[in-house]
């Protein structure tokens, strides 16, 4: 695909007709990576400096290139190209290499295959130059310099092509051209011995030539897709009773556990799919806090979920997939009878999360913030335990309440003096007389997060006549210019 970058760019561009060059930053200024046809007409070509191209045409527009995005697209295309061949390899920045041995007849011969590939890429809006040859090197050369299908007599087909078609680096090409060897045919005629001496082993044109002619092997390393562990249970007759899924699990879970064991994996997320007779699929899933392959535990997690799958016209197959796995080596429970606490707690968390919903089972996750309700973060207990970024403020224990209201509640207060502490307050329609108080602890608004009108908070620990202790705060100060009279809120309850 010679113009992949520019075609990808023009898909999202406003004016794909304009003379545009995609540029990359290089050591001595910007280099052109790809150009639109309009820009190419005016003399710009890839590899040129942007300033040189601008000298030819001052109206040339420059846009930053996105090589990483292009590579990602190419990788996706490689997986898509799996439709033609089981072995697909990404080749450089702009090529795909397919091993089509024994494949072509499915598409009506090699010509048919090449046409099919071109038309399907064309449907995606991408230009593809295809060539089929007995060797990978020859196919590379032909695809770039004279796209066609070559069945046999590779040497003859390659002979008129320039030496650059041999995938050599720029220095070697320069040397060969200085020697007057412009085409592959000329190179092939030179006695091997003299060439052997002149080049290093790594970039020897003889190697490239041998690979292109099939005298040397060049294996492909395809994009390998590791399939997640999956087990399938087919029923001989459609089952319409809701128990069916549970019974199928009895067969699926041990099978999956065995697969996980063989691949030294532990499941973090499982998906159970029930295939109905009418072609529809019912699915449910569970997640675990630590990788596991204990069939008893997995069974317990899944069984409740499985029985609520609606069979409708009946299930005729079930599939259990471990869609997210993590490596888990062989483990042994300690020899003494007591199971390890950590694993037990993780299992408990799994069960709670499955039944109540993962967002209801949480562990504290302190966040770097001064505002109590913001600092008091939570994370899902089934998630990976992160490295402790922030140790919970130690030594604060006695100055922080054990219970915090989700949202501070406004209280009506009776002041002794407007700046000072109230004498009594009304919270939820009951009067509390303040007997003792400690404070204030001033918490200023986080100016880097909040609007400029956010007011500071003065927290007081107060105790009422009955000894109940609360954490109340005054939001703002008298005359701070951020609103009217300060308001009071109750935020926490002390134990």
């Amino acid at each position: 695909m010679p113009v992949l970058a520019i075609e990808r760019w023009s898909r999202f561009a406003d004016a794909p007709e304009a003379p545009v060059a995609l540029v990359v930053e290089a050591a001595h200024g910007q280099l052109i990576h790809a150009v639109t046809p309009a820009a190419a007409e005016r003399g710009a070509h890839p590899g040129m400096r942007l300033t040189d191209a601008r000298a030819l045409d001052p109206k040339l527009l420059a846009e930053p290139a996105d090589p990483a995005g292009d590579a990602a697209l190419l990788k996706r295309l490689a997986r898509w190209a799996g439709r033609w061949s089981p072995l697909v390899e990404v080749d450089g920045e702009d090529g795909l290499r397919l091993d089509v041995s024994g494949v072509a007849h499915l598409f009506g011969g090699e010509e048919g295959l090449a046409t099919d590939i071109r038309s399907r890429f064309g449907a995606l809006g991408l230009t593809a130059c295809t060539a089929i040859a007995p060797t990978a090197g020859a196919a590379w050369a032909l695809a770039r310099f004279s796209p066609r299908v070559v069945d046999k007599d590779v040497a003859k087909a390659l002979a008129p092509l320039p030496v650059a078609a041999l995938r050599l680096d720029a220095r070697s090409i320069q040397i060969l051209e200085r020697l007057g060897l412009k085409t592959i045919g000329q190179l092939a005629k030179v006695p091997r011995k003299s060439l052997q001496r002149r080049f290093r082993e790594a970039d020897n044109p003889l190697n490239a030539l041998d690979r292109a002619l099939g005298l040397k092997d060049e294996p492909l390393t395809g994009e390998r897709i590791e399939l997640p562990p999956r087990v399938l249970a087919k029923l001989s007759e459609p089952a319409t009773h809701p128990e069916a899924a549970g019974q199928a699990l009895g067969r699926l879970v041990p099978g999956l556990a065995r697969q996980l064991q063989d691949r030294k994996l532990g499941a973090r997320r499982l998906h159970l799919a029930g295939y109905r007779v009418d072609g529809s699929v019912a699915g449910t899933g569970v997640a675990t806090a630590i990788p596991t392959r204990d069939p008893k535990h997995l069974m317990r997690l899944l069984i409740d979920k499985a029985t609520v799958l609606d069979p409708e016209f009946g299930f005729d197959a079930f599939a259990l997939t471990a869609s997210w796995c993590e490596p888990l080596g062989a483990t042994q429970e300690s020899l003494v009878d007591e199971p390890s606490g950590e694993a037990e707690v993780a299992k408990l968390v799994d069960r709670l999360s499955v039944k109540l919903g993962p967002q209801r089972v949480r562990r504290p996750q302190p966040i770097a913030s001064h505002l109590p309700e913001r600092a008091n973060g939570w994370r899902l207990a089934v998630e990976e335990r992160p490295s402790p970024q922030l140790s919970p403020a130690s030594g604060r224990g006695s100055t922080r309440p054990q219970h915090l209201l989700d949202r501070p509640e406004a209280i009506a207060v009776v002041y002794a003096t407007p700046e000072g502490l109230p004498r009594r307050f009304v919270w939820r329609r009951l009067v509390h007389d303040i007997a003792k108080a400690e404070g204030p602890e001033r918490i200023a608004p986080e100016w880097w997060r909040e609007r400029s009108t956010a007011r500071l908070r003065d927290y007081y620990r107060v105790e009422d006549k009955d000894g109940r202790r609360y954490w109340i705060f005054r939001e703002g100060l008298v005359g701070d210019g951020r609103g009217g009279a300060p308001e009071w809120y109750l935020h926490g309850l002390f134990g």
Binding site: P339, L404, L405, A437, R468
Partner: protein, 230 residues
């Protein structure tokens, strides 16, 4: 230096001194505890009184994670657990939809050896909370030796399978040693109104430096037999 210092008491500080004498820590007190970890029920004197947490937390051991279950109403009425107020405790918090879910989660937690203690905070009188449910919790707690606390906010003390039943309310705190206007060591009025293997009683207690103390001069009833025995 400090040895030579004498306090010259003015009127104000003499009154304060008097108050100090009235309310001070008494002798160390061994809280009635069950023979083995089991279910204890704790009634807060009111949902707006968070004092029970201070009474409960010193009784837990912090080596293992704590499973703290609150139902939705408990969170709304008396606040969500605030980890910053519980230093050194590894917490797993469960927000249960209602009493039924909370009881299920408690029982599930009690089946796990890795949990240090289970606290279930329920508001009012959930429908499912009956003798059978509490009895199940008690049996589960005794089987795995995980202490379980069922905290009732604004509930009525019906028939229950709990081995110990407490009623805990806040009392005015002890004077702060350095600031007479500030709240000091918290104190509670704890009433044990049903217990297996213990005489019921009511005590005014405070917790300071790893142990519970009786409050001196509060006219407690249970202190008398101790004195007599001594």
């Amino acid at each position: 230096m400090a040895a030579g210092l004498t306090l010259v008491a003015g009127g104000e500080s003499r009154a304060a001194e008097k108050r100090l004498l009235q309310r001070e820590l008494g002798e160390p007190f061994r809280l009635p505890a069950p023979l083995q970890p089991t279910l204890s029920e704790l009634f807060a004197s009111s949902p707006r009184d968070g004092g029970w947490a201070g009474f409960l937390l010193p009784q837990l051991e912090a080596a293992k994670p704590l499973l703290w279950i609150q139902d939705r109403m408990a969170i709304r009425e008396s606040g969500r657990v605030h980890p910053a107020g519980l230093p050194g405790i590894e917490l797993i918090h469960v927000e249960a939809r209602d009493g039924r879910d909370a009881l299920w989660a408690m029982e599930e937690g009690l089946r796990c050896f890795g949990i240090g203690a289970v606290i279930g905070e329920l508001y009012g009188d959930p429908v499912n909370l009956d003798f059978t449910a509490t009895r199940r919790l008690a049996v589960a707690a005794e089987r795995t030796q995980v202490p379980c606390w069922l905290v009732r906010l604004g509930g009525t003390a019906n028939l229950s399978g709990a081995r110990m039943r407490w009623r805990v309310g806040s009392m005015p705190s002890l004077p702060h040693p350095f600031d007479l206007k500030a709240p000091g060591t918290p104190a509670w009025e704890a009433e044990l109104f049903r217990a297996r293997g213990h005489a019921p009683g009511s005590w005014g207690i405070a917790h300071e430096t790893d142990r519970f103390h009786l409050l001196a001069g509060t006219g407690d009833r249970a202190l008398e037999p101790f004195r007599r025995r001594a």
